[in-house]
Assembly symmetry: D2
Homo-oligomer: 120 residues x 4
């Protein structure tokens, strides 16, 4: 099932998967950095949605990376989920002026786009 | 977003979430047991799909548990994914006569049903 | 290596492992609940250490559960780590009056004790 | 606790952490690739230890990456664990002639060394 799905059914190529894995690694990295930095902010009360979404985004990116690296037949469904979480995280980051939020939004929008293409 | 989604928008109640978490714990437990046992089987060559799906099922169940325990706004989408993975794992287990596969199929079908209801 | 380590070398029995898995599940559950509740507190600024340790505790408990359920040769080392993280989380929770912190401390101290016994 | 530990107590610098994170990413990538390839081998019966260690190695690398990216006070203990798992995985891979095992061994030995330095 895994091999067949991977080799014959998916309209994605190796290069596209590698770029998506790299985007997930960068979104995970930016989300973890934003999570830690948000918790150090003076106005942490205003950052609680961002903290929650950062954690969830990093977790789902990890799952998406594993699914692509192990040729999961659920890769497309997981990338769709990852796109949704990354987009929500990016939109929340857009509300805040902090440098770590700006960097996280950028990485998450990019990851959302590549994951969306994977799942299309 | 988290709190609003959780309290107002979802048509699920606390009891339903608790039952689904418990079903995910049992599916994760059965998948990990099946994974280990498959790798000890003499005819491991015939069990490779089962091994892969067991690992993936345990991983996704962990994500679903966390999403329900932290009131994630993506809980429904994650439960839908978990239902799909559990069902695939159960169907693969159905092909094999081993006791660990039978137990895993049972736990995974049950989890798939409860996760499907969560995501409906 | 896995099977040999599991069957011959470890001074732990099946009952002890089952109790430790259950304690990890309860510590993970309490940590995730405490994490979500801390982020809703008015004085969230005072809860940031608790939030970080809750997340880390839930993550490490998940790893410990998997290591015990898959008979990992690193089970003892992972349980030692889990004991350390659970204890730190419990001590932080002890500083706060909230009901979710009290419940989390209780579950984490219990888990730390059982994990410590596993790694002894 | 997190910030203090990170800034004052650890004898590691930013550059060292970044290199270790990158080594963990590469070990995780190689382990996932080796895991998938082992399960496709004709002589899969001889690869079962490798399969188990590949999965565990990828999981622990993920935890180590998160601990470094979130400035965990348990970073050093987790890197010690990651070094042990990576070394065991590399040694198992050394027993096999496959190209994916050779690549995995190389990435895991390198990761083990950098993680060992982090935990020293």
């Amino acid at each position: 099932m895994y091999t067949k799905a991977y080799k014959e059914e998916w309209n994605v190529n190796h290069q596209q998967i590698q770029e998506c894995i790299q985007a997930c690694i960068e979104a995970m990295t930016a989300s973890n950095a934003c999570y830690s930095a948000c918790l150090e902010e003076d106005h942490v009360k205003e950052m609680t949605e961002c903290i929650k979404l950062d954690r969830e985004c990093a977790d789902i990116c990890r799952v998406a990376i594993t699914s692509m690296q192990t040729h999961s037949p659920f890769m497309m469904e997981i990338c769709k989920l990852c796109a949704d979480v990354c987009e929500a995280c990016a939109k929340e980051c857009d509300k805040h002026p902090h440098d770590h939020c700006r960097k996280c939004a950028e990485a998450c929008y990019r990851c959302a786009n590549l994951c969306r293409n994977m799942s299309a």
